[in-house]
């Protein structure tokens, strides 16, 4: 063995081959990002594309401070002070997701459980759901504007409409997949109708519900951004649309990057672990939908 292979084997032994491979993989993954950022900087330097098409990286960074210029500080930002443009828009988007989740998820679960337990109910709810899902959330925006006007009601409606049906379908499928003996088991121990929901259907459908929540976040977030652009008066979607109208490309870039980061982070660090946790904890096999 040469000195180099000896050295490499020594390192592999110390750190562990798997971990080294992981680190290597991570490094490789950053290469294209670095390349893109490099090209971006070069563009600023050589001016291949004007700033109106591709704003300098520093401008995108600067846009954060520009948007927050007259924001008195962190506390004020949390209180949604009028001058804290960026944080206000972030909070209104995120807030709407949370609000829609708070309303849509329990509703979807409730109806999903009912439909899963009762063929007649599901027989009538299912076609509505299929049609609602086919008319993609975005296609509801014009009608929602007619009904609710431009503003938060419309965006919330669009979000709810998206979230509700996804959760509904996933819960229904989850409930239907719960083995009948589990229900009978609880019934024969003196469990009431409500007990079977609480002890069997709800936990049994949980992995499926959480998968539904993941999908909701994905589809809902997209629908929200679109709704904010077309029929909203605040939020990140609204911000990038208005900024684009006013040719403030750096704010558009900033908004787009924030939109995907918020989604990526909440999916990766919130829902994926949650999904894994329920599935692994209960040893339920995950079925791709």
């Amino acid at each position: 063995m040469t000195a180099i292979t000896e050295f490499s084997v020594a390192i592999q032994k110390r750190v562990g081959r798997k971990r080294l491979l992981k680190a290597w993989k991570f490094l490789m993954g950053t290469v294209p990002f670095l390349f893109i950022i490099g090209m971006w900087e070069l563009n600023t330097h050589f001016g291949w594309f004007p700033p109106i098409e591709i704003p300098p990286l520093s401008d995108v960074w600067g846009a954060i401070f520009f948007l927050q210029t007259d924001c008195p500080g962190f506390v004020a930002a949390m209180q949604q002070h009028n001058e804290c443009n960026l944080t206000n828009n972030i909070m209104s988007s995120v807030g709407r997701v949370i609000l829609a989740g708070f309303v849509g998820i329990p509703l979807g679960i409730a109806f999903g459980i009912l439909a899963g337990m009762n063929r007649t109910i599901s027989g009538y709810l299912e076609p509505i759901g299929i049609f609602m899902n086919s008319v993609s959330g975005i296609a509801w925006i014009p009608l929602a504007i007619v009904w609710f006007g431009v503003g938060w009601e419309t965006t919330l409606f669009i979000m709810l409409n998206t979230i509700f049906w996804l959760i509904f379908f996933n819960t229904m499928m989850g409930v239907r997949a719960v083995p009948k003996v589990l229900v009978q088991g609880v019934q024969t121990m003196g469990g009431s109708y409500f007990d079977t929901i609480k002890h069997v259907f709800l936990p049994g459908a949980m992995p499926s519900i959480i998968t539904g929540m993941r999908m909701s976040l994905g589809f809902g977030w997209r629908a929200l951004i679109a709704a904010e652009m077309i029929g909203g008066d605040s939020g990140l979607g609204f911000m990038i649309f208005v900024s684009a109208v006013e040719f403030k490309t750096e704010e558009v870039f900033l908004g787009v990057i924030l939109i995907s980061l918020i989604y990526l982070i909440s999916d990766r660090y919130l829902l994926v672990p949650l999904e894994k946790w329920t599935i692994e904890r209960w040893g339920l096999v995950w079925k791709p939908t």
């Binding site: 088991g185 024969t188 121990m189 003196g190 209960w282």
Partner: protein, 265 residues
């Protein structure tokens, strides 16, 4: 039989409606059966003869129209904690730990926490699962899961325990162990049990009385008393027990008749 009849079935018939043709499947015909206190009744019969149907009716999971079925003098209407059921597949909940599965019946009946804990521990020890209290079902073997199911039913202290081929899904070796254990538990708890099985050996080994069903529509063909004291019922001694082999062979012959005539059919 000593004591009063815990379970009384009179002239019970059952028809299933057919989903497609609207015609009905005749599953049970004129069943008359009584199970007395502390008695262990085993039912055997060819596949599809209506054993599960009978058990489901007794468990209250299947409504019936013709005949009567009473537990402890009360007509059966729907499931209730007076009849505990052990199903073939593991009907224990994957999202509850062993202890919480076993205590589930008590929880549903709102028994105080302290009392629940005490009784759960008692049954965990009884079925030999000490140390596994906080495990989840997917971490257990098939035999252990069935032990949890038995303990769960016992813990709710039913008037009668209904078991539908509880050991059919475990391997032969484990099955023998579980049978020995069930025997020990029956001795310890003196439960009244209605036990359904495919296995003639199992019926002869466990039952005080064995009821042989005919082909569909299920009717009671014969019943055989098995007079072996529970203390003597241990598998390692069974091969030499003439009472056992005799009962077993007799049941086997009766069941064979049914199956063969079924084939001719």
């Amino acid at each position: 039989m000593s004591g009063e009849a815990k379970l009384i079935i009179q002239d019970l018939c059952h028809h299933y409606p057919d989903e497609y043709t609207g015609e009905s499947v005749h599953a049970l015909e004129g069943i008359n059966l009584q199970v007395y206190e502390n008695e262990f009744v085993a039912i055997v019969g060819p596949s599809g003869c209506g054993k599960t149907t009978l058990l489901n009716i007794v468990a209250g999971l299947l409504p019936y129209r013709e005949g009567r079925a009473m537990v402890d003098g009360n007509e059966i209407h729907g499931p209730g904690p007076d009849r505990g059921v052990v199903f073939q597949e593991h009907a224990i909940l994957p999202w509850r730990s062993v202890a919480r599965n076993i205590g589930h019946g008590l929880e549903l009946q709102r028994v105080p926490k302290e009392e629940t804990r005490r009784r759960v521990q008692e049954y965990i020890d009884l079925v030999g699962l000490s140390g596994f209290e906080d495990r989840y079902p997917h971490e257990l073997s098939g035999g252990m899961k069935q032990r949890v199911a038995v303990a769960r039913t016992l813990c709710a202290d039913p008037v009668i325990m209904l078991m539908d081929e509880p050991f059919a899904a475990v391997d032969a070796q484990t099955r023998i162990t579980l049978q020995d254990e069930l025997n020990r538990i029956v001795m310890a708890t003196r439960k009244t049990i209605l036990f359904i099985t495919h296995s003639v050996e199992e019926a002869a080994f466990l039952g005080d009385r064995c009821i042989v069903f005919s082909r569909r529509p299920g009717q009671i063909k014969t019943e055989i008393k098995i007079d072996i004291p529970r203390e003597e019922r241990v598998w390692k001694d069974m091969a030499d027990n003439p009472k056992f082999t005799e009962a077993r062979d007799k049941i086997l012959r009766l069941v064979r008749q049914e199956v063969t005539s079924d084939d001719e059919h």
